[in-house]
């Protein structure tokens, strides 16, 4: 009975709020998806954070720091949304550390040159934005509101990356080479960010029915590629896919086959930086423990004073 009312509500495009009844599967799917999204924002701080101290100008330094800071904020918005489903942030962090929660595989690739800051902003944020714009219409209220806020704030992120790429592409030969190299390394991982093809994506069915996801992986991927190819042409860089071709009939770009073996390898923990990223997060968390304990002890003391 409840299931039927729930689905009617979803079909009528009504938002589900924390105190509303929801099927257990819906809740579980949300916790998994939102926490994965939150962890991605937080782990995603690392490859870029790694270049803040080496940014080549004061302007670039401030922009990059503000961007990485936004990612921390967005992780926080998402943890908040997830907490409305009855899971604490501590539990979510624990799941991340235990390896029971995933984050976007893209962050398991290393950021090796300044051009990677361009490629990450342009491609990785670009791909994330395509996904997030779609998720603004997701059926769970707190997630949808979080996405709206995030999309609003992230609008500068992709531009920041594209600007770096554009500057380098018209810079010295060395800079152009760095930019092309970054595009070569980040192109395929970026389009794999949308996940497996629809035919291999078992959970898409329910997620679409419940309107947690509003578009399928393949639809989102196509939309990203269609947007990005002309942007590469404008700045004179070459997308590393010989099969990439405009298909007049489909009204879309055709593109080559992704390396799914690599995709699953990285997802399953065998990417270049999986261990490093998680170790970094754990280290920061562990190093902060005495600070958290101290502030808690302080608060308790203050409360005692107030009561006496």
């Amino acid at each position: 009975m409840s299931d039927k009312i729930f689905q009617e509500k979803i079909d009528a495009e009504k938002k589900i709020e924390p105190k509303d009844w929801m099927p257990e599967g819906y809740r579980r799917h949300l916790v998994r998806q939102i926490s994965q999204h939150a962890h991605s924002e937080i782990i995603g701080m690392q490859p870029e954070g790694n270049w803040i101290t080496r940014a080549p100008s004061l302007r670039a330094k401030m922009i990059l720091l503000a961007k990485v800071q936004d990612e921390a904020g967005h992780g926080l918005y998402l943890y908040s949304a997830c907490e409305t489903l009855g899971v604490t942030r501590d539990e979510l962090i624990q799941q991340l550390h235990d390896g029971n929660a995933k984050y976007s595989s893209i962050f398991n690739y290393p950021a090796l040159s300044w051009a990677d800051m361009g490629a990450i902003g342009w491609l990785v944020d670009g791909a994330a934005i395509v996904n997030q714009v779609s998720l603004q219409r997701t059926s769970y209220g707190p997630y949808s509101r979080g996405m709206i806020k995030i999309c609003k704030e992230e609008s500068f992120h992709q531009r920041q990356g594209y600007e770096i790429m554009a500057e380098m592409a018209k810079g010295t030969p060395e800079q152009k080479e760095m930019a092309q190299d970054a595009l070569n390394r980040f192109w395929w991982p970026s389009i794999m960010m949308f996940g497996p093809q629809d035919s291999d994506s078992p959970r898409t069915g329910n997620a679409m029915k419940w309107k947690i996801k509003r578009q399928t992986n393949d639809e989102l991927r196509q939309s990203f590629i269609d947007k990005t190819v002309p942007q590469a042409e404008v700045i004179g860089l070459t997308i590393p896919d010989p099969e990439l071709k405009w298909n007049e009939k489909r009204g879309h770009y055709d593109f080559g086959e992704m390396d799914w073996e690599e995709f699953w390898n990285v997802v399953n923990g065998h990417g270049p930086c999986n261990k490093q990223r998680l170790a970094h997060h754990k280290r920061a968390h562990d190093n902060g423990k005495w600070v958290r304990n101290a502030s808690q002890a302080y608060a308790q003391k203050q409360e005692k004073i107030l009561k006496s």
Partner: protein
């Protein structure tokens, strides 16, 4: 934050004269920290002129199963709205 710190709901007044609006939450161990965390997270883009923080556990919410009993009874009290009334043609400023 960690290890069962307190969750604080954050309300921001975007401009002097407007109402405070709920924007989200932060974790903090004390109220001073809650206010500062809210400032650092929610007013990075010039969004605020005043911040309220309140412990999430102190907020009392109506339950969704009560929503019919709570809110439907006001549906038919249309006389509470100015459009309910017939005004003679030509009457102004009323």
């Amino acid at each position: 934050m960690g290890e069962n710190t307190i969750v604080w709901e954050v309300f921001i007044q975007s401009k002097n004269g407007l109402a405070h609006k709920h924007v989200g939450n932060v974790h903090a161990t004390d109220k001073v920290m809650a206010l500062e965390n809210a400032r650092d997270l929610y007013t990075r883009r010039n969004e605020g002129s005043c911040i309220w923080v309140v412990k999430a556990k102190d907020i009392v919410s109506s339950e969704s199963e009560d929503s019919e009993a709570f809110f439907d009874p006001s549906n038919d009290k249309i006389y509470r709205h100015p459009t309910f009334y017939n005004m003679p043609d030509g009457a102004k400023h009323i």
